[in-house]
């Protein structure tokens, strides 16, 4: 049980004197890179300093300073702390920053997102279209001077609610007046939306050329947004030649609600229940990521017992997520419902535990800054022990026996390549998919958070990177989670469950924090900027589903259409988190 050697953070200022400076604002860290030198510095960060995994790209709109900032978080797949570097540009449209898509292809979607929501243009990005909002949308919603329709007040709590109780229902406001901007003489009834020219032209540009020499026609097929296998409302435009996928573009945003903007309106505490709704299978993990980020900013300790409770909840969540993954994968492959219902049985029992401790089965809202809401009652503790020690190991083995050797399934999964280690790191793919490709990168070990450094467990890793490995690694991870749970249940001490007094408005000092956890689907990270007020100045989620999906085009081009559904299932996406 060794944690990685903490290598000192690379000194960029010595390597690039003049073009790189330390970020010296109070509470901030990292380096400021001049815009002109960004590509050079980024290439050096990857090649000379060895930061091969660029996990997050996002922007911050500093309206008062009249600056736009792009923040990059780079890590090493061998583990250890990360490197933060930023580019500041004047806030004069068009705000442009060089794109890093040629250095880390994984920034593709995240740069598109920053363009979409913040209006930062990335020079050299080959496909800079809107990604979450629809084509033809006006404005960039995360800019600080942007106001949404039915805009009420800058931040919550709204003053109208108390003590005068002046509340207006949203539906009573005329949707065609107020804050909505429409062109003059706009008639909604006569409106004909433009065809999605941008999407199809981009699909065409990225389509492989036929090499068979046969004269064949290519057809475009839209899978989704209401396709039963796309796990929600993901739409994928696919170009087919015969049954080979020649080009593919995912289209998302059908479930978009601008979680980031909602977060910036809320107080720090109020965001918590909204994080439940990101990856709605793992609300406990989502809470975990958010609270450790804010705790980093607040610099508060966590109660000892609460640390154990957090680990127990996060690992139970991982177990049920992976069981559902297995069940739903089989659903996608055509084994309708039997495996998924077997998986749901165990999930229900785990959700019973969540309900008993937190009050809700899915939207738990269980974590608080400094600890958790309430203690685990003794009878629930017994139930967790019963599940972890008796039932879940047996049921995992039963699932394994049920499926893993099935010739039809093996024939379908074995040898169908998902992604290799090098490409996975390039495309910022994290989580089980990266580990199945042979990179033992698990944040619980690579950059431990909470108390994971106290437990004895192995990082599940497989080497082929085919679908079978991606399938089997979930079983490995369930077994490792059970190992962690056994130790946690043995070691959990008595004591208080929160280091802080319960307060409905927390004081968060100014600064920035990037907190990340190993969620069941990959690296879930939050980037929070506080300016000392009750609401965060910038709140950004780096959802694993969204970033992992960046690789889907690379994974699927050249494969058969019937494997597409299974390959998509391997990435384990969930739309609540992908679309935010």
């Amino acid at each position: 049980m060794t944690t990685p050697v903490l290598t000192p953070i690379a000194d960029l200022t010595a390597r690039f004197p003049g073009s790189v400076t330390k970020d010296e604002r109070a509470g901030y860290s990292g380096f400021l890179v001049a815009k002109e030198n960004l590509l050079e510095v980024a290439a050096a960060i990857r090649d000379e300093f060895g930061y091969d995994l660029l996990t997050a790209v996002t922007g911050v709109d500093y309206l008062a300073e009249n600056k736009m900032e792009v923040v990059y978080h780079a890590y090493k797949t061998t583990g250890g702390p990360g490197l933060v570097f930023k580019v500041q540009v004047d806030r004069i449209d068009p705000v442009t920053v060089p794109s890093l898509v040629n250095i880390w292809p994984g920034v593709d979607f995240q740069e598109r997102e920053a363009w979409d929501l913040l209006g930062i243009k990335f020079d050299g990005h080959p496909d800079l279209r809107r990604i979450l909002m629809w084509e033809g949308y006006q404005g960039h919603p995360l800019r600080k001077d942007w106001k949404e329709p039915f805009f009420e007040e800058e931040v919550k709590p709204f003053k109208s609610r108390w003590p005068d109780g002046k509340h207006v229902f949203a539906e009573e406001k005329n949707p065609f007046r107020d804050n909505l901007n429409f062109p003059k003489n706009f008639d909604p009834d006569a409106y004909q939306p433009e065809a999605e020219k941008d999407l199809y032209s981009s699909l065409e540009r990225f389509t492989l050329k036929s090499e068979s020499g046969l004269k064949t026609d290519q057809i475009v097929v839209n899978m989704g947004p209401h396709h039963p296998s796309t796990h929600g409302v993901l739409r994928v435009a696919v170009t087919l030649e015969g049954e080979t996928i020649m080009g593919l573009k995912p289209v998302m945003g059908y479930l978009h609600r601008n979680h980031d903007k909602i977060g910036e309106r809320c107080t720090f505490l109020q965001i918590l229940p909204y994080t439940d709704r990101l990856d709605y299978f793992n609300s406990m993990s989502n809470n975990f990521g958010y609270v450790i980020t804010v705790e980093k900013l607040m610099k508060i300790p966590v109660a000892e017992r609460a640390e154990y409770i957090r680990v127990i909840m996060a690992e139970l969540s991982r177990i049920q997520n992976h069981l559902i993954f297995i069940g739903m994968l089989l659903n996608d492959l055509g084994t309708m419902y039997t495996p998924s219902l077997y998986a749901f049985e165990e999930r229900e029992l785990i959700l019973d535990i969540f309900e008993a401790v937190s009050g809700a089965r899915m939207m738990c809202n269980y974590f608080r800054f400094g600890g958790v809401v309430r203690d685990i009652p003794e009878d629930v503790m017994q139930k967790i022990k019963g599940l972890v020690q008796d039932r879940l190991p047996a049921k995992t083995d039963e699932m394994d026996r049920f499926l893993s050797e099935n010739e039809v399934l093996v024939g379908r999964l074995k040898g169908v390549h998902v992604i290799n280690a090098e490409d996975a790191a390039k495309f910022s793919v994290t989580g089980p998919v990266l580990r199945a490709a042979g990179v033992p990168y698990d944040l619980r070990r690579a950059d431990p958070y909470g108390i994971y450094d106290r437990f004895d467990f192995d990082v599940a890793v497989r080497t082929h990177g085919d679908m079978m490995d991606n399938f089997l690694i979930r079983f490995d991870e369930i077994r490792q989670s059970l190992r962690i749970l056994e130790q946690a249940l043995k070691q959990i001490p008595q004591g208080p469950i929160n280091s802080q007094k319960p307060q409905y408005q927390v004081r968060v000092p100014a600064g920035e924090a990037y907190g990340r956890i190993e969620s069941p689907k990959g690296e879930l990270a939050y980037y929070v900027v506080s300016n000392g007020k009750p609401n965060p100045y910038r709140y950004h989620v780096r959802p694993p589903s969204f970033v992992n999906l960046t690789a889907i085009e690379h994974i699927c081009r050249g494969t058969k259409i019937q494997d597409f559904v299974a390959l998509l299932a391997m990435l384990d996406i969930v739309m609540g988190e992908l679309d935010r």
């Binding site: 919550k156 609610r161 509340h167 009050g359 809700a360 010739e407 409905y504």
Partner: protein
């Protein structure tokens, strides 16, 4: 041998199929009812459950744990002659902490002095916006707003609850959350005792 894996898998479904009947027989031999009673439902959501797992809603309903939360309600104490002593002081913390801002309160003012008095004139919760996070109940300093167990709220219109609909007696609260209610009662008693002791201590040197 090709097909061995499939047979192995089928043995699992085969076992699962018979489990329901074996379990039924074992319950009959024990002379107990497995369906449509609490013990049976509890057993079906315990770690020892085997065979059929589903609960036949609405004849059978899952047993909610004490902490289950669904929509807030306001607690009143039953005073003499059926008087409703509303615990809420309209301090507004619930309205401030509410993430979707679905609570709005009109504070009472004394008609003579114009000063606010601790009692809400109006109290609304928009049940269609409420996200059941439980913050209002968690941060209420007077134990006045609590989360309910009532899940059947289907309605034709919008679920906007006013004071009349929100108020429920403390006895109901004690019924759905006995453990929490007892703990809170204990804390209140301790606080009152401390207050009385303090008042006595400050009063005694004067006399």
């Amino acid at each position: 041998m090709y097909g061995k894996g499939i047979l192995k898998g089928l043995s699992v479904t085969w076992k699962r199929f018979w489990d329901t009947y074996l379990e039924d027989i074992s319950w009959i031999l024990k002379g107990k009812k497995r369906y449509f009673n609490e013990e049976g439902i509890r057993h079906r959501s315990s770690k020892n459950t085997r065979g059929i797992f589903t609960v036949q809603y609405p004849e059978e309903q899952l047993i909610l744990p004490e902490e289950a939360r669904y929509l807030p309600f306001l607690v009143y104490d039953e005073g003499p002659q059926g008087k409703q002593e509303v615990r809420c002081t309209s301090c507004g913390i619930c309205a401030k902490v509410c993430p979707p801002q679905c609570i709005w309160i009109v504070r009472s003012n004394d008609p003579n002095t114009g000063r606010p008095i601790p009692e809400p004139t109006e109290f609304y919760i928009d049940g269609d916006i409420c996200m059941n996070c439980g913050f209002c109940a968690e941060y209420c300093p007077f134990d006045a707003i609590k989360m309910d167990h009532d899940l059947d709220i289907a309605a034709y219109g919008r679920n906007v609850y006013n004071l009349e609909k929100l108020l429920k007696p403390a006895s109901y609260y004690n019924l759905i959350r006995p453990m929490n209610a007892a703990l809170e009662e204990q804390a209140r008693r301790a606080k009152e005792a401390a207050k009385a002791a303090k008042a006595e201590a400050s009063a005694s040197p004067a006399t």
